[in-house]
Subunit: 226 residues, 2 copies
DNA sequence: TCATTTTTGTTGAATTTTCAACATACAATA
DNA sequence: TATTGTATGTTGAAAATTCAACAAAAATGA
């Protein structure tokens, strides 16, 4: 377990918790590290959502069943990533997804009820842990909200402009670098890559946009202030 | 303030907190009820996100600025609804949206730092409050995730089937009633209403679907178990 | 019951996207 | 430097969406 020290330190769940306190706290929470081999199931769809998972090594995929019964990958979690936290914290319900190891992996399991339960020793780490968990879930919420706002536009052009104006707001500037390749941007916007290219080209011609690789600059009547 | 008793009782934030404890706790948290007139701003875009809001009366709109400077309504909050909680709990950042009263309203403001801070009297309501807040945010997260999964499909047919299979899973049955009119369903799926009608008709003809008004039944090779 | 309003389904035209195939530019590496 | 492979832009055809206008059906209310 101690060999995963660096991983735990990098995990947002343990931010601002002193290194020497982490293991004591995990013991207090009854957290357990478990080893899984490739394709083994960590959480199965339908079982009650109790545990928060932290990937210690390997990689874990969150999978979902399609309406046609097709398996779909919701996300892939790498070491230091936390998963199933929303389900565990939303209370009660059963898992609508499964967590399956993409290869041999080691996972830390923490009972969400223990996280929320009163702690006898009233360790202040515990409070920080709750705060961290809240922050993680709230931040994810904001990301989802933003993506939803972007994806819900009807056309590629609108999606792109919505995304770019978010980036502009984030950078306090109309010029910025995006963290995506064209293919990745298309994936994020949930549109066809070549169609996206066409759209970017046209926006350039129309003078609404300048860009070179990952650098973008919004031009024209694009409002900013107010 | 006491006149809003019923509203507070209906608010998810105060679930499982004894009625007689609510006001004491609010005092302990330094929560304040404020009156606003129509169009007055509760939270302004750009200011630090500190407070969680609870609508006591009237109605509050969460507004956002478009890339073209257009105002867009993200959501409308009715009495007992809570708003700005994700921003307040995600830590640090400034608000990317504004909260504006759609009419004369009364709003309860609670400092999120006080919610998370250690409570001297260590009231157990406080713990329940944190738990409730976590649950609210996590549940919203799941709703967002689901909607994202649906909306990110490329075609209306796929969006519809994704939505319907979520409903089927939720009801443990291929037959169920949906809580939307056609127009509302189209809005939820972010597609054109008439186009949606066309799609539903075709799916009926193809024998994949039966439906009558709000009643739907998935047919055919739609997998369910496993 | 009748009249009115709202909701839903249908149609065709215009727009847009997707998809496949290909050309070019760029990057990595032998 | 030449070669190879990846990323990006371009094109045209097929498919899907949006949009506007209208018709039919259902709900509402006088």
């Amino acid at each position: 377990m101690e060999k995963y020290f660096e991983i735990l330190r990098a995990c947002a769940l343990f931010e601002h918790i002193e290194q020497q306190d982490i293991f004591g706290m995990l013991a207090c929470l009854g957290a357990k590290a478990k080893e899984y081999s490739k394709k083994q199931v960590v959480f199965a769809r339908g079982q009650p959502a109790r545990y928060v998972g932290v990937v210690l090594s390997g990689s874990v995929r969150i999978e979902q069943l399609d309406y046609s019964g097709q398996r779909g990958i919701v996300s892939t979690c790498q070491p230091a990533d936390i998963f199933a936290e929303s389900f565990a914290c939303a209370g009660g319900a059963t898992l609508p997804v499964s967590a399956v190891c993409a290869r041999d992996s080691s996972v830390l399991l923490i009972d969400s009820a223990r996280i929320m339960a009163p702690c006898d020793s009233s360790c202040h780490f515990h409070r920080q842990l709750i705060y961290n968990l809240m922050k993680i879930i709230a931040a994810k919420n904001i990301r989802f909200h933003r993506k939803l706002d972007i994806i819900s536009r009807r056309t590629t052009k609108e999606k792109l402009l919505a995304y770019l104006s978010y980036m502009a707001a984030e950078n306090n500037s109309r010029s910025f670098y995006i963290p995506f390749s064209r293919q990745e941007l298309a994936d994020y916007l949930e549109v066809d890559r070549s169609g996206l290219s066409v759209r970017i080209s046209r926006l350039k011609k129309e003078g609404m946009l300048e860009c070179d690789k990952n650098f973008f600059c919004l031009l024209g009547e694009t409002a900013e202030g107010t």
